[in-house]
């Protein structure tokens, strides 16, 4: 499956992944916005308000009933933070006509693009702005979501560590926005945001699945109508990724929570390898990225300090997090072991050929599996486009296969602890 890219008029690109392996296709529009608290808050609320109603389907009830009648495409309107941009997305994973019940004559894709057009260009309005009832209602839901982050202790601890570690760069923004920014939203400012997105923000569209001549016509007609009136000079540029800088000091932060088990997150700065991320990927797989990694086999299995201990990296920001669910009395010994395992990887002689080969095989397997899902492939493609990386899976695999033990050690040598965050459990 190769990806075809084509420019579609002003500030818009379409990526097409042609495949007939699946019964469902995926189509999405991704608008790229600057990453800041205000945009995050507005786009999150906007995505919910848009699903409250259109001129033809003015309520949640009529909207969701209409979606159901289209054979329930997984329909998404969302705002997602990446390392450099905010992505405002409208997308659908839908059943291909060939697999509808025999008596059904509907052209699902035409219906879906018509509905997307309705949502973006003909939303439910009053006096040229969004309904104040819908806006206030979705602001309340958004604030509830922000408060509900505490419900999941693992992701809450990671989010806190991320914010504390990255400082003031755009990527440190809260992914759901802040209560203050949400409270400041008005029906008018929200509608202006929609107009701004359609008129000024670069668009990355992607289609994955059975791309027939008719599908192509539908896509082109839809995007052309959607972006009608755009002007080249109004377009905003895609933001570059701003990376964090660290002063060499290690932050040690503890916060209390009513829970049964504590959560520890250790944040590391990693060497900047530019687009050549393969070395870091292999390092992470060996260090804490799998169920046979150094952290899993030593911190969990051998020392039995916790149920999980794993590492994950952000290849755009050059940071890595080690996470574990752990009791207070075992924090120091776990930290010590995590750092000891990192030190061991600094010497390439401590990395066996079989360990290296298994790590590479695992990553290659994941890359190959990307092509086994239209949604996964399309999302991977969009993320790579946004971060300015090539979109060739084969090339990624070749790069992984070239990594040596020395390359892995070089990454380990460049890793530096910058924060230890502990969400301490106290009795409720």
């Amino acid at each position: 499956m190769k990806i075809e890219n084509r420019a579609l008029g002003i500030g818009a690109t379409l990526g097409v992944i042609k495949t007939d392996k699946f019964k469902n296709n995926y189509f999405a529009l991704n608008f790229l916005l600057p990453l800041n608290d205000e945009n995050i808050a507005k786009c999150n609320v906007l995505s919910s308000v848009l699903l409250r109603g259109t001129s033809k389907h003015p309520s949640v009830s009529s909207m969701s009933k209409h979606i159901g009648m289209l054979y329930d495409p997984s329909f998404e309107v969302s705002a997602t933070k990446t390392s450099s941009s905010l992505v405002f997305k409208i997308g659908a994973y839908y059943l291909e006509n060939d697999f509808l019940p025999k008596e059904e004559k509907m052209d699902v894709f035409s219906e879906i693009t018509a509905f997307m057009f309705e949502i973006l260009k003909e939303p439910f309005l009053g006096n040229g702005e969004f309904s104040s009832f819908y806006t206030e209602s979705e602001k309340k839901h958004q604030i509830d979501k922000i408060k509900a982050k505490i419900n999941n202790k693992d992701s809450y601890a990671l989010s806190r560590a991320n914010t504390l570690m990255l400082g003031n760069i755009p990527a440190a923004c809260e992914s759901l926005g802040t209560e203050e920014e949400v409270n400041a939203i008005t029906p008018g400012s929200l509608y202006k945001m929609l107009v701004y997105i359609l008129q000024k923000c670069p668009l990355e569209a992607v289609f994955a699945g059975r791309f027939t001549v008719k599908t192509e016509e539908t896509v082109l007609k839809f995007i052309s109508a959607l972006l009608n009136g755009r002007k080249e000079e109004d377009l905003i540029p895609v933001a570059d990724c701003i990376k964090p800088s660290f002063d060499g000091k290690v932050k040690d932060i503890k916060e209390d929570i009513c829970a049964t088990q504590g959560r520890m997150v250790m944040g590391f700065s990693m060497p900047d390898t530019g687009e050549k991320t393969a070395n870091t990927e292999v390092f992470n797989e060996i260090f804490g990225g799998s169920a046979v990694s150094r952290l899993f086999t030593n911190v969990r299995e051998r020392l039995q300090l916790c149920y999980y201990c794993a590492s994950a990296q952000n290849l755009s920001l050059n940071v890595m997090y080690v996470r574990s669910g752990i009791n207070r009395d075992k924090v120091d010994i776990a930290k010590e072991e995590i750092m000891r395992q990192l030190d061991l990887l600094k010497n390439p002689q401590n990395i066996s050929e079989s360990e290296l080969s298994a790590a590479k095989l695992g990553i290659v397997s994941n890359y190959n599996a990307i092509c086994d899902s239209v949604v996964r492939y399309a999302s991977w493609y969009i993320n790579r486009r946004i971060s300015g990386k090539h979109t060739d899976v084969e090339r990624c695999i070749e790069e992984i296969n070239k990594v040596s033990a020395e390359d892995v050690s070089e990454i380990a040598n460049g890793a530096a602890l910058t924060i230890t965050y502990f969400l301490n459990c106290i009795e409720g």
Partner: protein, 452 residues
Amino acid sequence: MRRLNIIEKKKNSIIYEKEKNSKNGREAFNKINLISNEYIGESCIKVKHKSGLTIYISKKPFSSAYAIFGTRYGSYDNVFKLSTDKEFSVVPEGIAHFLEHKMFESDDGHDTFEDFAEIGADANAYTSTDRTAYLFSCTDNFYRALEVLLRMVTTPVFTKENVLKEQGIIGQEIKMVLDRPSNALYYNLMAAMYKENPVKIQIAGSLESIAKITPELLYKCYDVFYGMSNMALCIAGNVDENKIIEIADKILPIKDSSEIISGKINEGPECSEKVIKVYMEVAKPLFRIGIKDIYGKPEERTAMEILTEALFGQSSDFFTDLYERELVSSYSAYTEYSRPACYTALGGESDCPEEVFENFCRYAEKMVKKGVPKEDFERAKRVLYAEVMKEFDTSESISEGFFDAFLVHGNFLTQAEEYSSVRYEEVNDLAKRILKKEHFALSTVCPNKEKK
């Protein structure tokens, strides 16, 4: 000679089984059928292996292949006997899950995860109320990984030392799970609905119950529930069925196993408690409403799913009305009609869970009197049809689909069309049977700050 045997003919498709000649004669004792559903363009090779194991092989042009080797044994199965036994055995809570953990340990003490990783396979396992499954996915070395999987699951190694070690790790897992509000919501709902049914027991057990687990008990459970006729191997991907059967022939043990009889449960139709409320570190109250159906059967799942989707799904009047009135958010509903229990649950976040519950009771009463709206019934069938068709798009969901169908004696290939064949009257009859106040229960998790 090939024999074509049409076992079922539906409006839009022909589902047939035909015997497939063996390529090399090895399968002399294996019964091999090709099952297909031409309408949806899906087929599967079903093998009744001479060991007693049922094997499903779905050949798909995917890069990755996926295999599940699972047994009809979960946290529910704590009281049991073989048909040849006189007495029932009662084992500690959480033992099925404990056993799952221990299966990864090989006879020389090393972790079988390493064997999978060495060849690039991503392995995992899980235990639920009615099943335990061991699985892997990979894009290369599929047959080597399959050998590792089959050997691992058919070669238990339980020692005092390794049981003791696992008690520590699972103890941490139990604590971690206790922090999850969703876990508390679920188990409190089970406790509210069921007085006796073991579905209310935590899958991993408790620190006290797992402390009672011994190697002898693990072997006892293994011998009863890991008999090949109680298990299935489900594979999807770009694979060769002959090689798979060859590996099964080489590794799988052939031993007779007796019928497993579960302990009898005294469970009345009414819920054990109406409401269970606890306090945790959450931002706003979470709720889950349960509809208990002790007369339900797994075969009724299709009709029940239509009823749930029509009356309580994301596009139902019930949810959209509550959402418009700002009474609920983050809502979902599902139906569980399996061997351990039959019930429906719906829930989300709400500032006033009790008010939602009152609304639910009134709405249910109204729907029984009025009947399920016809257009909602038709829409629900479309939604569920599409949901199943999505499952044919990954090797993982195909394998899981076959395994799930094996557990309930169903047919994954005809599932999508089964929704079309459900009659409107059938769904209304179900509504009348289950939508009664005494079958309803509510579980809530409220913020600690609301604790008086």
